[in-house]
Symmetry: C2
Subunit: 197 residues, 2 copies
């Protein structure tokens, strides 16, 4: 899904400061052209992302970003809070767009707002099995989430990252293998190199 990948792109840019388009293409498992298209879409949507050309160019998120843009009132946030304590289970299992997007945001939360929600996000990250007990059709999204979680883990608890890996790999590949001729990295199972610096 495109919206899904846009979110991942944004989170990747928030985590690392600057990434080259080929690098992003590898991480997101799409072509460089698609990465540039996505960057254009992000920029058109108001995300302060800009690019730098030349030898060591790359995609850069505006440094001042990631902190309080505060587009939402406390009231609105509270409304969401109330909503999410109740109905959300259905709405999460309902559509991959909202569901997986929120989960990805949640997974990447500590990087953005580490101050108040780190413990919460830690629980979610450490125990991804819980997601598997969700709605029945969680195969693909659980896999994607596991991959994403693993990446995040590499950043936070580098020691405890191994051994908790899902048995099936093939990130972003559908079980039917229909999408395999597209991506060039369908065989990879371990998380990609991570610029741990």
């Amino acid at each position: 899904m495109r919206a899904d990948r846009l979110l991942s792109l944004l989170l990747l840019l928030q985590t690392h400061g600057r990434l080259s388009a080929p690098d992003l293409a590898g991480r997101l498992e799409v072509s460089v052209r698609t990465v540039l298209r996505d960057v254009e879409a992000l920029s058109a949507s108001g995300v302060p992302v800009y690019t730098e050309r030349g030898r060591h160019g790359g995609i850069v998120l505006m440094p001042g970003f990631r902190t309080d843009v505060t587009g939402m009132t406390a009231d609105e946030a509270r409304a969401l809070f109330v909503l999410l304590t109740g109905t959300t289970h259905a709405s999460l299992g309902l559509e991959a767009a909202v569901g997986s997007a929120l989960r990805k945001i949640m997974a990447a939360l500590p990087a953005a707002h580490r101050d108040a929600a780190d413990l919460v996000a830690r629980r979610i990250i450490i125990d991804p099995v819980r997601w598997r007990s969700g709605p029945a059709s969680a195969d693909l999204s659980t896999l994607q989430e596991a991959v994403f979680t693993d990446r995040r883990l590499r950043l936070r608890y580098r020691a405890a990252s191994s051994g908790r890996r899902p048995e099936r790999c093939s990130p972003r590949g559908r079980p039917s293998g229909r999408r395999s001729p597209r991506g060039r990295h369908s065989e990879r199972c371990a998380p990609r190199g991570q610029h741990t610096g």
Copy 2:
């Protein structure tokens, strides 16, 4: 978008107890076939929706639903809360899927969880202009939101519904009119009859 409509379908079913497929088709401005497909998708996603055949059949949401399914822990909800107070502005303007979906949920919130968030949702519903001051590309989504809001208003504050209607109508119709041959109700401006009983 399909995910968007699935959410609307769920909310419609939550508001009214039971609706026939042709009725839903009219409200959602799609064909009956699509409504049935959507119901199937909802059901496959774990939403307890069932159908009743025969003369006065219809689509019914399980009565026990809408209250605490509690698929999300308070921790997770708090994580979302923290998230939505911060980064959300970008993520809202970013992708219509998450953004408009959340707004629709928020708009329909009082029907579901009237107890704790009515005042919040009321503020949101009464002052939709605020959404217009968001990211620049909010044309279509703002229109859709306005239409949706108007419908909700008819239910809650029947007296104050008029006069605050957006100048452009054509709900769910793209400005280019590309989608017009599909939907059968592209010309309508006023909200549809609402079963106000």
